[in-house]
Amino acid sequence: MSEPTRRPDGRQKSGGAIPGLLKGLATTAKTLGRPSHTAEYPDAPPHLPPRSRGVIALTEENCTSCMLCARECPDWCIYIDSHKETIPSPTPGGRERQRNVLDRFAIDFSLCMYCGICIEVCPFDALHWSPEFEYSELDIRDLLHEKGRLGQWMATVPPPAALDPGSAEAGEIAAANKPARVPRAAAAPATSRPAAASRVARERPARPEAPGNIPPDSVSTEPLPTAQNPPTTGSPGTKSEEGEA
């Protein structure tokens, strides 16, 4: 019963199969003639886009231990330890200030899912994507990388993309190009100078001291610098902060 219905089907199929079979042979033969797509990876370096998300690099100087990255991390793979240091006032009777000192910054790349949220949330540009990807280990525990190793990867981070024509100048550049601010310390009494000078220089590297034109009386006034540099100052890494300010 089913035979007569099946037969025409089978014939149609076998009639239609031959061109398909020949096409299969032709396709494979053509592919045989073409060069293969295989990239011989360990022998030849792969051509990665420059912004590949390979590993997360850390600029230790920019980190203020604010913990934003660690708290935003979806799988809690960032470990930060820090302590507060008290900076004595440069002038007698002035207020003491505190700043965070980073003791430990570690990323566990066995947990990291390369979402890049930590890099997005960092307000101080301390974290960057690096295209480096060859950091596999034989033991999963060895994938916990401390700040030293994370810092080494900074060298592989590509420079930021050029700004669009006509766009505003980058904050850091604008800050650097500003006419030198009048240093208050210029006419400071010689006794207080050595202690203060080094600290001032460290606090504001982008604003070199230039001896000059400032009323000598205002030298020791505390409020002005405090207003411009909130208590988190202290490291040269506040560049970007200043640029935004």
Binding site: S14, L25, T27, A29, T31, R34, S36, H37, T38, E40
Partner: protein, 319 residues
């Protein structure tokens, strides 16, 4: 003493061919299939384009543990690979490369080759039954059904050539060959090639070892060297069938400088057929079980019978 030496030499020669040619075909399959799929294939073993990949595979297989399942029929299970492997070796011994270069000149060698290669089925069947594994059993049953179905068109196609040559000896057939056979015996040649690939359980006729359905068919439970023997028997089978095709349908050693280079021609033609078999594997999808049987009984058997009738009529008319 002299006889013993000659037998030994011939046996060693066949054994060498048996160990070298299948590896050659296997390596060709690695590389050709890879490049047909836009890949490179093995590149490391041996240094130059992975030429020693199969040697490395062999070393790996030797190192692996030889496991016999607890529920298996031990003796049959362990004996099956030999049953699958030896027929190819024996068949290789009677295939002539030239009228003189043949290990054993058997009078009815065409018949002998067919009979011997059919024994190889037993190895698969033994393996599947003795493994005590449902996939193995299914694979063995599929293999048996497939091999029985395709044995008939294979034998009929060879019968047609024997009829045309008036000889049952492979040497006699190749000697009687003329280029005119390429047209006259073409349907038979196509039937033989398809049936040969099906006998070897090669894609597109690899239903008995369809990995997506029944793991690896009758060979599922095999490990190590025994598994390697099954693989070797597959590639040795390709060599046997390709050389057989070259002798039956392509005139074997016939070609320019046949007196000096006869064996080169036979082997060269055989390698071309082996490449064709590899090409079929790469290009075509697997046939379903019912399509397999359909092709064997409704296409190949009638075609082989028609070829036999054509050959018979022509031989009678021309005589």
């Amino acid at each position: 003493m002299n006889d013993a030496l000659e037998v030994t030499l011939r046996s060693v020669g066949v054994l060498a061919a048996f160990l070298v040619l299948p590896l050659l075909v296997g390596q060709a399959e690695h590389k050709v299939m890879a490049h047909m799929q836009g890949r490179l294939g093995p590149m490391y073993a041996g240094g130059f384009h992975g030429w020693a990949q199969l040697v490395a595979d062999g070393v790996k297989f030797v190192q692996k543990e030889d496991i016999t399942p607890t529920a298996a029929d031990r003796r049959v299970f362990r004996f099956a690979p030999a049953v699958a492997l030896v027929p190819s070796l024996v068949a290789l011994a009677v295939i002539p490369l030239t009228p003189s270069v043949v290990a054993a000149d058997v009078p009815a060698s065409a018949l002998f080759v067919l009979a011997v290669t059919a024994v190889g089925i037993l190895g698969t069947l033994m393996a599947g039954w003795a493994s005590a594994n449902k996939y193995s059993l299914l694979g063995a049953m599929r293999a048996a059904a497939q091999l029985l179905s395709y044995e008939l068109p294979l034998v009929l196609a060879v019968a047609s050539v024997c009829l045309a040559a008036g000889s049952l000896s492979l040497g006699g057939i190749a000697a009687a060959w003329s280029p005119w056979w390429l047209l006259w015996q073409a349907p038979g040649a196509v039937v033989f090639l398809i049936a040969a690939v099906a006998e070897l359980q090669r894609p597109p006729f690899d239903m008995p070892v369809a990995d997506a359905e029944i793991v690896f068919g009758a060979y599922t439970e095999y490990t190590g060297l025994r598994f390697a023997f099954f693989l070797l028997s597959e590639y040795a089978g390709i060599v046997v069938m390709a050389l057989l095709f070259s002798v039956l349908y392509l005139g074997g050693w016939q070609g320019p400088f046949a007196d000096q280079l006869g064996w080169v021609w036979t082997v060269l033609k055989g390698l071309v057929i082996a490449l064709l078999i590899i090409w079929m594997r790469v290009a075509w999808p697997r046939l379903r079980e019912d399509q397999l049987q359909h092709l064997a009984w409704l296409v190949l058997v009638p075609l082989a019978l028609a070829q036999l009738a054509l050959t018979g009529v022509w031989v009678v008319v021309a005589a």
